[in-house]
Symmetry: C2
Subunit: 433 residues, 2 copies
């Protein structure tokens, strides 16, 4: 029969198992971030290739295709290993479903490339297909963040997800800006899209900063001093403030170079972030394993001392109070006297009791922190779904839907997520209109 | 290399594994509900035994001790099996920690019984110890509800948890009322406690009804017609409206009998609820296994037809749109034409696509439903913690803390949970006062 301390040890083993799965998932996230970067580069090269009717970037594009394919093989391998090693992982249901979608989309890539090769697609169509595949890969990262069981790792994943999302929006901004500058003017729709992409990036990087650890924040802030970023800001201003349709100089090459320099900086920060994430997993696991060893050693000592469950009955009250659902938040520690009479001597008796108290406190803290992080993810889900609902029911574009939500929030002096929730609550009304 | 459909199958396997663990947990919950019932009866008998200085219920009490011990052995066995079969279960960290507390408290029971036997304790002290052990057991049920991965089972667990909590409060009400009636008067504090226990029961049964399935609701409503329940209501009215301290007739025996009849009715409903819960687990698992078999059969067919990932590239766009984080809520189904050109013929190609769509839709629905159920659990956690904070920082009793929160909510026309959240946000201020 397992003792109380035996169950504390079992709880620790569960925690370690969850962390091991999380480490595998984070390794996958690193691979996914590399594949996304490759696809973003291939999208950019394909864009130039198609826009120039095949006269530019033919070699660059086929080199990039080979590079993407190499990373794709690695990521497929990571997917397979996840399915083998973590076949029973918590949250696997959602994560594996996302992966199924991604695989389906990856399988369609060769045909997409053939169409690009043969110039059978416009740049917008090609961009759209790549962007949707990338969105599917980002959804895998989102799911990984949503199922993380450790608050610090969950924070790091939320931070990384927002960073990757921001980087993807930066890539889309580069494409829209380059096309408009090459055409010599920004139409009203393109300007609106630029404004939306810029603002959406701001939000993503804001959330990245909010959840990132201080080192990463500093790396990110320091990276903002690159001269290309200042130059990009000037071109952004021209792009968004010149009256719609009025001719602008064709600075598309310079725009592309500056935007690319900015994205390359992002890639470096992303690399730091994924490495820090894996390091965090490793450290958290090592700490948990050390604690497990300590628990197990204590269990051995207690068993040698005549059985591990020999705390005096007076401890009952204080113990159950901590465990109970109505336990007060600041329950006082058990008095020293509690352990004076037990067979173990005060030292060991106190140790078991303290272990339980520490554990209860730690679980409470972890649960609070996870709730905070998940709230951020949940707000994102709610806003995205409200946008989707408005797009489907009112025929709005994504930008228009977002603008409507934000404007309503400002008018009513409410938070964006509150307006989104209210919108979803009206789903039936909106759908039946 | 696993195909997209292969990952859908893996997702289904994960789901089934989660359901299998949930089935074991629900079996444990059933055992816990039996043990709680035994402890409630032992608490009642011990109370009478102690209040009569050993002259009443001596035999009844020792019979009940034996009955409790028999169930305790079963529950300890269920704990052990859980630790063996589900050593790596999701949420095991929290559940096992709760079990550790319960075991510690159970180990102290023999000493508690010795003190009762020797009349070394007052009835209040004995009641308090039993109540805290029961609170620890209820915390196990709460944790089981909080970690459930299936919305329907999660609803059933939330419903059952609230029912068990309500039944426990009914047991406490029986004890308070019996003691006061035997003493011939209700002091102001006892009246306040009675009012609190009655109101808290109402809330619990309200939540039970909200989350219970219709059959259980009907069973519960029909059970309310017992004549003892009407009689109890009359005695409740006398208990709570007679001016504090004024003599009342000693109807303690009748009160005890009526309250016991009501609790026995509850036990029958609880029995129905736990059986329905296990049945629900079984049905959900059977349905998931059937679906898995269908997926697996489709996978075999596709592999025989030349590989499972042969959907036409045109499906890419629609597929990734469904998977993407920015997917609109009401994305339209893929047109029939999508599958006309693939090697499988329209039927099989359509099947895989539909599987993915169904899965995405189902995950979304499950996630929404789970969020709704967990919100109810979370509100409970927040209110309990705010109460605990007020108790610790202001030296209030549980009733006073609850009353303060409720009064504030009414004055400010806000929801109870909002006031509780605001209270927790002020935690540092309250603690430093």
């Amino acid at each position: 029969m397992k003792s109380a301390l035996g169950f504390l040890v079992a709880a620790k083993r569960c925690e370690i198992h969850g962390l091991e799965q999380l480490e595998v998932t984070c390794g996958l996230v690193k691979g996914v971030s590399e594949l996304v970067h490759m696809l973003q580069k291939e999208r950019g090269a394909s864009n130039v290739f198609l826009a120039s009717r095949g006269s530019r970037f033919a070699d660059k594009r086929s080199e990039q295709v080979a590079a993407t394919e190499a990373v794709e093989i690695q990521v497929r391998d990571l997917f397979d290993r996840l399915a083998t090693d973590s076949a029973r992982m918590a949250g696997g249901m959602r994560l594996f479903s996302r992966i199924a979608y991604v695989l389906h989309a990856l399988n369609a890539l060769p045909a997409l490339r053939e169409q690009i090769e043969g110039l059978h697609l416009g740049p917008e169509q090609a961009t759209h297909s790549f962007s949707e595949l990338i969105a599917g890969l980002l959804a895998v990262v989102f799911e990984a963040a949503d199922t993380a069981v450790d608050p610090a790792i969950s924070r790091a994943l939320v931070s990384l997800f927002n960073f990757m999302q921001g980087k993807e929006l930066a890539g889309q901004e580069r494409a829209v800006g380059a096309a408009a500058l090459a055409a010599g003017r920004f139409e009203a729709g393109e300007q609106q899209r630029m404004l939306h992409l810029i603002e959406a990036q701001e939000r993503c990087f804001q959330l990245f900063i909010e959840f990132a650890d201080p080192t990463l924040r500093t790396i990110w802030r320091n990276a903002q001093v690159a001269p290309e970023i200042a130059e990009l800001e000037r071109m952004r201003r021209i792009a968004t403030t010149t009256p719609a349709g009025r001719p602008v100089d064709d600075t598309s090459q310079r725009w592309f170079d500056c935007a690319t320099a900015r994205i390359d900086v992002m890639r470096q920060v992303e690399d730091c972030a994924t490495n820090a994430l894996l390091q965090l997993c490793e450290n958290t696991l090592a700490a948990a394993r050390t604690e497990l060893a300590e628990h197990a050693a204590l269990l051995d000592t207690l068993e040698a001392a005549g059985g591990p469950d020999v705390l005096p009955p007076a401890a009952l009250s204080a113990l159950v109070e901590r465990a109970g659902v109505t336990a007060p938040a600041g329950a006082p520690a058990a008095p020293e006297a509690l352990h004076a009479a037990d067979g173990l001597g005060p030292q060991l008796g106190r140790s078991v009791f303290e272990l339980m108290q520490d554990q209860a406190q730690r679980l409470q803290t972890m649960s609070d922190e996870l709730n905070t992080v998940r709230a951020a993810l949940n707000e994102r889900k709610v806003v995205e779904r409200a946008k989707g609902l408005l797009m489907a029911s009112r025929g709005l574009s994504e930008e228009e839907a977002y603008k409507l939500l934000r404007q309503t929030a400002m008018n009513q002096n409410r938070r964006l997520v509150e307006v989104a929730e209210a919108t979803l609550a009206l789903a039936d009304v909106l759908r039946s209109e």
